[in-house]
Amino acid sequence: MVNRGAFDKILQAGGFVSVNTGGVPDGNAIPVAKEKADESMDAASCIGCGACVATCKNSSAMLFVASRVSSLALLPQGKVEAARRAKAMVAKMDELGFGSCTNTQACEAECPKGISITHIARLNREYLCAKLKD
């Protein structure tokens, strides 16, 4: 039986935009470049299946974390707290004992949704910027 409860925990650490229900602006108030929206959609197509972790020799969850961080960072709505999100999610991933990413690209090859490791690069960038600001 698969248990993907750890993924829930990582997302609970910061995989959201901090908005309550109600009181948000009109959907068209902030234009989003089509390319960005499309790329965000590419990343958001992650289904959280865990194939990336299973295939990684280090059992790293980087592609999973990156897909969420990247999908939100690409949109103005998610950009606001992108740094905080990246730090919190990576810290949680480490805490839960997932291995580190050594860039073997096995995850990308295995991903049933074809999620690209360029999202890992974006996560690294977000993470680094966040750390530098600390």
């Binding site: 829930d8 908005v19 229900t21 959907g27 234009p31 929206a37 999908s71």
Partner: protein, 647 residues
Amino acid sequence: MSEKLNAKIPEGPLMEKWTRHKAAIRVVNPANKLKLDIIVVGTGLGGASAAASLGELGYNVKVFCISDSPRRAHSVAAQGGINAVKNYPNDNDSIYRLFHDTIKGGDYRSREANVYRLAEVSNLIIDQCVAQGVPFARDYGGLLDNRSFGGAQVSRTFYARGQTGQQLLLGAYASLNRAISKGQVKSYPRHEMLDLILIDGHANGIITRNLVTGEIERHSAHAVVIATGGYGNVFFLSTNAMNSNGSAVWQCYKKGAFFGNPGFEQIHPSCIPISGDQQSKLTLMSESLRNDGRVWVPKKKEDIEKLRNKQIKASQIPEEGRDYYLERRYPAFGNLVPRDVASRAAKERCDAGYGVNETGLAVFLDFSTAIQHLGKHVIEERYGNLFQMYEKIVDVNPYNEPMMIYPAIHYTMGGLWVDYNLQTTIPGLYAIGEANFSDHGGNRLGASALMQGLADGYFILPYTIGDYLAGKIQEKKTDTNHPAFEKAEKKINEKIAKLFAIKGIEPADYYHRLLGKIMWNYVGMSRNEAGLKKAIEDIRVLRDEFWKNVCVPGENNEFNQELEKALRVADFLEISELMAMDALNRKESCGGHFREEMQTEDGETKRDDQNFSYVSCWEHKDNDTHEMHKEPLNYEFVKLATRNYKD
């Protein structure tokens, strides 16, 4: 009319009802919210949005689901889109238009006030989802894009590639995760509700089974929200997720909640046809495809023969040899007629011998005209992943040859009866999303289920439940040692023990499959009195057989999917009977409910407003009998008319 059936529709003009109602109902102050517990069962769009919103408000929320993570609710399967009346395309859409389309699409069997409110809050949903980071499709100017769905002449459907349900659920689930991280919500994945607890007639808790350990657990609360989705899987073969079920709704029904319109089911016209006897699930091809796809069968029987013998391909049949029967019969709406109309039209052609595959149960959905006009890349951008999915399953490339489709069970408009506040006939018990009966009448329009689930969960329930809970602030938490819990737990343990003790031969699936055949043949797309009576008899026989001969292997105190299934099938074997009884009672045709005795000369549905303009509300009685009450549908604002999609 039973006195419990007070729909509590606010006074005043349609446009003002919700506003006035919100002003009139009570609210709970923040300090008191902390003292109040709410159970939400289900984490689809309805449950996830409700649990997150209620948690944010400050209530103590417990949320339950069957899957290993809340994100894996059936809602992820939704492909096509979600409606709202933004009127961004400037095509003269409005709250009134969506309201009217929904009432008409539902064949005048839904409640005006609820439907109007649904249309009214639809825009808030889009704003909310955008703010959560849902990557809706956009145009080059950076603004949101729309497409069209059946039963509408405007473009009001928002979408995220072919994964709208998944993306909306990710948004709601992210909000839920945020509430969980703040300690406002506690999540119980892999916990299945097995009974509802009533204390002094009020919903005060549930019993669950931990699906990993088999442990039976007790949970109390000041109110319970059912968001467990539809019961379409009663048909065995459906487009629903494998673990979608009707059990929670049925438990509530047996505890006294009324069941609204159990016989109203939706058959979706575009599913991949059945390919064998071993199949256990059907794949949907999104309705959005009918934006650009044209439905047809050959005009000539020779061509049918040749197709079936694989002597020709569909693309070789010339234009004049094709019968675009939806465009022929319904010029005004063409391929975008509502689902029930499109499904029956496909059945009509197939019954007449024009089915295009070996089983005779398929019609074509053709994109060649659109590809010619718009170019392959546009079609690819719009439907790429659906085309891929089709090719993977059927091994035919829909860019070159038309898809083959056939109707299948998809959605249940019936469900727990709720009043304007979404409260069932049991005080403190609420039902939202597909689990309730409220908004879609005899037929749901495409892209309106996601809208309804999120409307209920984000913007309606969080207000209306406050009115009830305001009266509960003095009430202490219910002790789970209360005799009501004791009794319910004992009953469940006995039921489980009884299932194991049968030690029969056939697995639960065997009975489920047989039940599905009965339902499809007699309680499906076309119904008549004799067939429905036969269905009721056959179901009873099958149910007896199940309880004599089902085989449930393994133990209770372990992960045991056979036990889970057996419990759900046992309930399906009861729900099905009520569905057939309801369909038998309703001697009119409306929406997806087609009684052969009641049709017009050209085979369209014939309503009987004189005698059937009501919601049938069933009440469970002693000895498993059922009594029907009527909630009259008084149309104050819309004029009842014959549905016309022809001109």
